[in-house]
């Protein structure tokens, strides 16, 4: 497209009170500029549209309010549009009619013009893709995900490792319901299996495993092994529903498991009940009394440091089994807290009304056999905090959940740690550690499974790190659901399964069109590296938070655009500056920096800001009319992870006195939407010392700040402190060169 640039300046919203817009207009040379007193009004928009029609303007620079507002009126499909924010960032935060305010507006306009000169309209990367959904795991979650996707018209392959579908739910005698009348019901799994097996859109593989997952969303080649044979399927997107295992009860020796035959797990008790009669394992006698020990291993720093979420309602249900299956049977439940959230509370209430079921809070201190009788001893009970001793025919341990993703995750974590210590350590690890069964077997440079979502306290779960975005994943197109995400009940797993199925469908639909998936779900650009200049340093392949880049034998990166989330971390990582998007490149930002008019005598600072959080915070500072210093220029980035160090070097070598980096919180409970972006920016900042010392500059001239979207009241203080610091250091010696 041959660009024909038109520039439009708005005088409204106090802009022309703060800025001499006539002067601003005159600061632009050789390009058509127009002003309007309310550019966002229908008349203002008409002015632009008219120029598009009559003069063929197709590249529009609008110097007005923030791009976060009036997005709908300044919408010109097929044109390049750049919004230069002279309202929130200038008129509403800087002193009116000040020389420095004017200079800021003029710089922003120049930067905007440079940006469009260096931008192109995006063209999507479109390949032949499929929309078939692969569901891994045939428990309630997997069955539900498969059905929900199939009912929406998608072809589904379901892979189950056992010879029967149903997972642990198949062992259930009855199920607790979350809806009225909150009674025990037939387990839902039976109907699910029937529906799945008869659905024309679903093909089941069992017993089968995924031996290899190769490629990228929309174009995966997945090798399924079944009955000693393997078959390669073309897959669009994946739902990972590998489920859970009960916590290993042999580790609960202190609760008598393995020592006494009549101490069983809740899963074993379920199987006993399913047979219709409750008979004691030790002597086959009918069971008249059962003691349930809650949190057997759960909520325990020595075992599972989390709550397994299903065990309370499960034991309440099993207490009911005792009442129904055994004449005059009684149950005793010893718990830490009864956790029946939401409408499960109604079921708890019903149990509390049953005189044959006794409940007490208590810390179990031991399970013992005396004179051929089994006892549970507990402390700190409702009995005035006293110790109690309960006799029972059978003791049931309510054991918790361990996600199927735990073993592979731990193994791979260990491998990464060993590899970091060198080849020897890695070799020793591989030789000494038994390799667990992998689930996805991704043929990815960054490893065969989904990496944990955080550094610690994930306990092997494959959850999302984001409360708002439950299907965030570090492997694009692969969505975790059910108990590999969090311990949950059957009803909750079914809600979750449907959600994951939709996300898989979306991913398949988006890659078919060449559009990114969440969070940049509108973005048609993709990274297009100039590989001729690649030095095979591997930084992009190592740093990509989503494992989107593989390598060939020589270490040259091989971009898989359908795995890419367009955060541009690779652009920031590349020392050769060869990664570009149509509307975002190293050269573009460098040129914008170069278009800043750096005064020979006077301070000039730069801020690289995350466009997702820090930029809205700056906007909000404007909305609240907070005062910010005038000699700082803001450059929004897709993510701070896309910050290339050359920009800092460019800025400093041009005489800019210092640079602030505003990114999201990193580390524990990180808030970066691209997982690693702000952390990587901080890491790169460590490297900046080298650049600075080469330029013989102080390291304090560049500073990273973790800023959340609601932190805008802190902005004046943060920026003013930095200004002070730089003033102390004195001007950049490169000024004027």
């Amino acid at each position: 497209m041959e660009k024909k640039i038109g520039i439009y300046i708005c005088d409204g919203c106090d802009i022309n009170e703060a800025i001499n817009t006539e002067k601003l207009e005159k600061s632009v040379r050789n390009l058509p500029v127009k002003r309007h007193n309310a550019l966002c009004s229908p008349e203002g928009v008409e002015l632009i549209k008219n120029d598009m029609k009559t003069d063929g303007i197709n590249t529009i620079v609008i110097a007005a309010c923030s791009p976060r507002v009036k997005y709908d009126v300044f919408d010109f499909p097929g044109s390049i549009v750049e919004r230069v924010n002279i309202r929130e960032l200038v008129a509403w935060t800087l002193d009116p009619k000040d020389e420095l305010t004017q200079a800021a507006a003029e710089d922003y306009l120049k930067m905007g013009i440079t940006k469009v000169q260096k931008s192109d309209l995006p063209e999507p990367w479109v390949q032949e893709t499929v929309k078939t959904i692969l569901v891994i795991g045939g428990g309630v979650t997997g069955l539900t995900a498969a059905l929900e996707a199939a009912k929406a018209g998608y072809k589904v392959y379901l892979v189950e490792k056992e010879s029967e579908l149903g997972g642990y739910a198949r062992k259930l005698y009855k199920q607790v319901t979350r809806t009225y009348p909150y009674k025990l019901s037939e387990p839902v799994v039976g109907d699910l299996i029937k529906e799945v097996e008869s659905h024309p859109n679903i093909q089941v593989f069992k017993p089968a495993r995924v031996a290899k997952t190769d490629g990228q969303p929309g174009m995966w080649d997945v090798t399924i092994e079944m009955n000693g044979k393997s078959e390669v399927l073309r897959i669009g997107a994946i739902v990972l529903a590998a489920g859970w295992k009960p916590y290993d009860a042999t580790k609960l020796g202190h609760l008598g498991y393995g020592k006494y035959k009549d101490v069983v797990t809740n899963i074993e008790f379920e199987e006993m009940a399913k047979k219709g009669r409750l008979l004691r394992p030790s002597d086959g006698k009918e069971i008249k009394s059962v003691a349930f020990i809650q949190c057997a291993g759960s909520r325990d720093p020595n075992h599972l440091p989390y709550c397994s979420a299903y065990c309370c309602s499960s034991s309440l249900k099993q207490a009911k089994y005792v009442r129904e299956l055994s004449e005059d049977g009684i149950a005793f439940i010893i718990y830490k807290d009864i956790r029946t959230p939401g409408q499960y509370e109604f079921f708890y209430k019903e149990i509390q009304n049953d005189p044959g079921i006794m409940l007490t809070k208590g810390e179990v201190t031991g399970v013992m056999e005396e004179n051929g009788k089994l006892y549970v001893e507990a402390d700190s009970t409702f009995f005035m905090g006293e110790k109690i001793k309960v006799e029972a025919d059978l003791v049931v341990l309510a054991v918790g959940m361990v996600p199927a993703t735990k073993e592979p995750q731990e193994y791979l974590d260990g491998l990464t740690k060993a590899a970091a210590q060198g080849d020897e350590a890695k070799k020793a690890y591989l030789e000494s550690t038994p390799k667990p069964e992998f689930i996805l077997n991704l043929n990815y440079r960054q490893g065969p499974e989904i990496p944990p979502f955080a550094e610690k306290n994930t306990y092997g779960f494959a959850d999302s790190n984001f409360i708002c975005f439950q299907y965030e994943t570090r492997r694009t197109g692969i969505y975790a659901a059910g108990c590999i995400r969090q311990p949950m009940t059957i009803a909750e797993a079914q809600d979750d399964a449907a959600g994951a199925a939709l996300k898989a469908i979306q991913a398949a639909e988006h890659v078919a069109k060449g559009i990114a998936v969440h969070p940049r779900a509108w973005d048609m650009t993709y990274p297009d590296p100039l590989l001729l200049r690649c030095t095979a340093c591997k930084r992009c392949t190592e740093e990509c938070p989503f494992g989107a880049i593989d390598e060939d034998e020589k270490g040259i990166p091989y971009y898989k655009p359908n795995r890419c989330r367009r955060c541009a971390t690779c652009l920031g990582a590349c020392p050769e500056r060869i990664v570009s998007f149509k509307d975002y490149s190293v050269d573009m930002i460098s040129s914008m920096i170069k278009s800043i008019d750096v005064p020979e005598d006077g301070l000039m600072l730069l801020a690289f800001v995350c466009e997702n959080d820090a930029y809205p915070a700056l906007d909000t500072a404007g909305i609240n009319r907070l005062k910010l210093p005038p000699n700082i220029r803001i450059i929004p980035l897709r993510c701070l992870g896309s910050m290339n160090l050359v920009w800092v070097a460019d800025a400093l070598s041009r005489g800019i006195d210092g640079a602030l980096l505003f990114g999201c919180k990193f580390g524990e409970d990180y808030q970066c939407h691209f997982i690693k972006g702000s952390e990587l920016a901080n890491y790169r900042l460590g490297k900046v010392q080298e650049t600075l010392s080469r330029l013989q500059l102080e390291s304090e001239r560049v500073k990273m700040v973790q800023l959340a979207i609601n932190d805008y009241p802190r902005l004046p203080e943060i920026i003013n402190e930095f200004v002070e610091k730089i003033n102390e250091l004195g001007p950049n010696p490169y000024k004027g060169f």
Binding site: G12, C65, G499, N710
Partner: protein, 417 residues
């Protein structure tokens, strides 16, 4: 734009937004109808989320960007569904738009609010502060468009805002409007209201000074709240040094909400952490029946439980009274483990009030069954429910549920089986 391929979402809170946006990103048209002047619902009022202590505005911002960039999504604020007729796959929907008195020419410049002589209690801050009758609901509100509250505005007879507006954005004669839409499926995501604390007699709300609710505490802790994020007690602005939390305030109670509201345990812990962030020596007393922190939330509980300034008392609060000599609050409860009667004096008492489904007090005009507690009972035909309209959920589970509801709605739209 609407047809039988359109998904109608009733409610623009986090569940409704999720359902609408997720369906739109899968390629379907979505229309989101929200009754308040802004999108985001309850989460917009929250300072931070548990357990990450991250700001909800961050996720809302991303969702707003998804709306801005997706031509498949239409939304209406100040809008309520008046009537739904038709059948699964082909619904006719009538929507009533209440007048905003500010049109889309509004630039958000604030001139109307500056000129406005009238004030109104700020319901976004639960009455802890005031706004002008011409106001922006909060500083990051979306849409970024002012609104005039006709309960407090004197109308055209005053007209000061209209005079002040340079953009012809104010229309004090604006009338309610009715629009008609077609939809193939409907997701009801009408959310929840905090249970009315005035109805819990023994806990002193509205009668004893410095007894507030958990949602009010969110606003006190929020940087864009009435105290700019400082946790000060309402009666005298004193920084809070001792705080009490009454769990299950109205929940799990035969006389109030009979169910468990799911979020209140985590919410109180989060608020204890807010206070410790400002005052690490603050003493925190939590009165509870059961601590319910399912799944990995257990770690969040440990963070609070292991703080030496936390005291957890298993016992239901019997009585709350004003201290005779000050604005302090006296809490009386029986410790269920020791049997002892506890009398604890605190600077401020937070009632962890639960969630009452909005449909309990304002039944949506949709052909769907609701149970006696006000929760929707989805029939899985053409009208689905998501989030807290269906069950007490936290945000995470609401998102999961709403994403799933979007898929079920799509099934109805494509006529799949």
């Amino acid at each position: 734009m609407s047809d039988n391929k359109t998904l109608l979402v009733i409610g623009g809170g986090f569940s409704g937004l999720t359902a609408g946006i997720e369906a739109a990103e899968a390629g379907y048209n979505a229309v989101i109808v929200e009754k308040s002047p802004y999108l985001g619902g309850r989460v917009a009022q929250l300072n931070k989320y548990f357990p990450k202590l991250c700001p909800p505005l961050c996720g809302l911002e991303i969702n707003m960007r998804r709306i801005k960039t997706n031509p498949n999504i239409t939304f209406y604020t100040m809008a309520e569904v008046e009537r739904v007729t038709g059948s699964p796959g082909a619904y006719d929907v009538t929507i009533k738009l209440r007048p905003r008195y500010v049109n889309e020419r509004c630039t958000g410049c604030n001139a109307c609010a500056e000129a406005c002589p009238e004030e109104r209690p700020d319901e976004f801050n639960f009455g802890l502060s005031k706004t002008k009758a011409a106001y922006l609901p909060f500083d990051q509100a979306f849409p970024f468009q002012y609104v005039i509250d006709d309960k407090y505005c004197k109308g055209p007879s005053c007209g000061k805002c209209k005079e002040a507006c340079k953009y012809d954005a104010i229309d004090l004669n604006m009338k309610p409007k009715t629009i008609n839409l077609k939809a193939g499926a409907i997701v009801l995501a009408t959310g929840w209201n905090p249970y009315d604390a005035n109805r819990i007699d023994n806990l002193g709300f509205g009668r004893v000074k410095n007894v507030i609710t958990n949602m009010m505490t969110e606003r006190l802790a929020a940087q864009n709240g009435p105290t700019k994020g400082k946790i000060l007690r309402p009666s005298d602005g004193k920084p809070v040094e001792t705080i009490g939390f009454v769990q299950c305030a109205g929940s799990r109670d035969e006389n109030h909400l009979q169910f468990c509201s799911y979020i209140c345990c985590m919410a109180s812990m989060k608020q204890a952490l807010y206070l410790w962030e400002q005052n690490p020596d603050a003493k925190v007393y939590i009165f509870y029946i059961d601590i319910r922190t399912p799944g990995r939330y257990e770690q969040f509980f440990w963070k609070v439980k292991d703080n030496p300034n936390a005291t957890l008392i298993k016992g239901k609060v019997a009585r709350v009274a004003q201290a005779p000599d000050s604005d302090d609050v006296i809490v009386e409860a029986e410790d269920m483990l020791s049997g002892e009667l506890i009398r604890q004096r605190v600077d401020m008492l937070v009632l962890a009030t639960g969630m009452e489904p909005s449909a309990k007090t304002a039944r949506p005009s949709v052909p769907l069954t609701f149970n006696e507690h006000g929760f929707a009972v989805p029939d899985d035909k053409g009208i689905l429910a998501a989030g807290c309209a269906k069950n007490p959920f936290d945000v995470a589970k609401s998102v999961q549920d709403a994403t799933g509801a979007a898929l079920k709605a799509i099934q109805r739209i494509v006529g799949g089986r």
